[in-house]
């Protein structure tokens, strides 16, 4: 599924926003959810994840804050913003359009053009 991996990677930001849409979360939880939902097919590296978090935060789609952990290192939580929700909707719509278009373009029928 090498091609699919690349395709999915291009939508990392949108995937993260989708996960944060319902509730705030932290790095590992987001990563785990993506891994589980994709049945182990798609696993993000920590570095990729943090890069995406930073991008999203820079564009104002999410905000971050440190959690109050009882033990161990502090966790960094992320919460989606209004702008982020809007971005998610836009990106989803874009993906739906792209999906339709690609389906049309790669359609072929046996026996044509013989």
């Amino acid at each position: 599924m090498a091609i699919a991996s690349d395709l999915i990677r291009g939508h990392t930001d949108t995937i993260i926003l989708a996960h944060l849409y319902g509730s705030e979360s932290y790095g590992y939880e987001v990563n785990k959810s993506i891994y589980d939902k994709s049945n182990g097919v798609f696993e993000l590296k920590e570095a990729t994840l943090y890069g995406a978090f930073r991008r999203l935060e820079e564009t104002g789609c999410i905000t971050s804050f440190w959690g109050d952990e009882a033990t161990g290192a502090r966790r960094r939580y992320y919460r989606i913003t209004e702008k982020g929700r809007k971005q998610l909707n836009d990106s989803s719509a874009e993906w739906q359009d792209a999906k339709k278009l690609i389906d049309i373009l790669i359609k072929y029928e046996e026996g044509e053009g013989q």
Binding site: Y28, E46, A47, T48, Y50, R54, G72, A73, R75
Partner: protein, 273 residues
Amino acid sequence: MNDRIKEYVEKLFLGTPHTRQAADVKEELLANLQAKYEDMLNSGKSEDEAYTSVISGIGDIRSLLGETPVYNTEAVSSKRHTSSVLRAVAIMVLIFSIVPLIVLDALFSGTWLTFIIPISFLSVLAVGVGLLVLSFSLGPKKYVKGDDTFVEEYKEKVSGNDRNARLWSAISSTLWITVIALYLLIGLTTNIWHPTWLIFIVGALVQNMLRFLLKDPKGYKKLVNSTIWLTAAIFYLWFSFATLAWHWSWIIFIIAALVQQVIKLIDIWREEE
């Protein structure tokens, strides 16, 4: 906190810039790795398996930290050399620009070729100034800040390569050289040294305005302000000399302040839209 993981991360961060951003990333990474490790243990993996899995999932964390790229030292030193040579040549040219002025004045003043004098003087001056500004832009970066913290900004300034500082020196020198040149030019050709010295006051005004301009990345607002004040100053001087009514022409400055406020109000109103 698993010590092996912590040790690994510490090693990973060796040699990276000590910025607050890097410290935050390190802390976040440790927390997430720890959570993953515990999760794996809970799902039945052995300690070794969990460790390996956690470590292999880190990816290229160092590129996130904005490491300063290693510069080719040879290229850097040759660039520096060029820029100092260029600067020296520029200053020589500027000093020598007086020569054509004096020589040509002796030869041509009083003849119809008088126009050659200011033209040649200004051309040599322009070449000199151009070279000077060019030499500043060739200055190599000695230190690039790794982060947007004020610590990094300070380090960058102290190492003398802050682009704004260099740009500012280039602009300042250009400004004052131009002022001196114009003063000499006007004085030598017309012998009207008296009110011409005012050009230095105008120069100071211009410099202050430029200072505001450069401190603020949103240059446009400041540009508008400086234009208002420069225009006010020029009008004031011209008007006063023309009418010799120094005692009330200063009202021009009050008008300028008013215009500035009006523009500020318009800006705020526009921002709110």
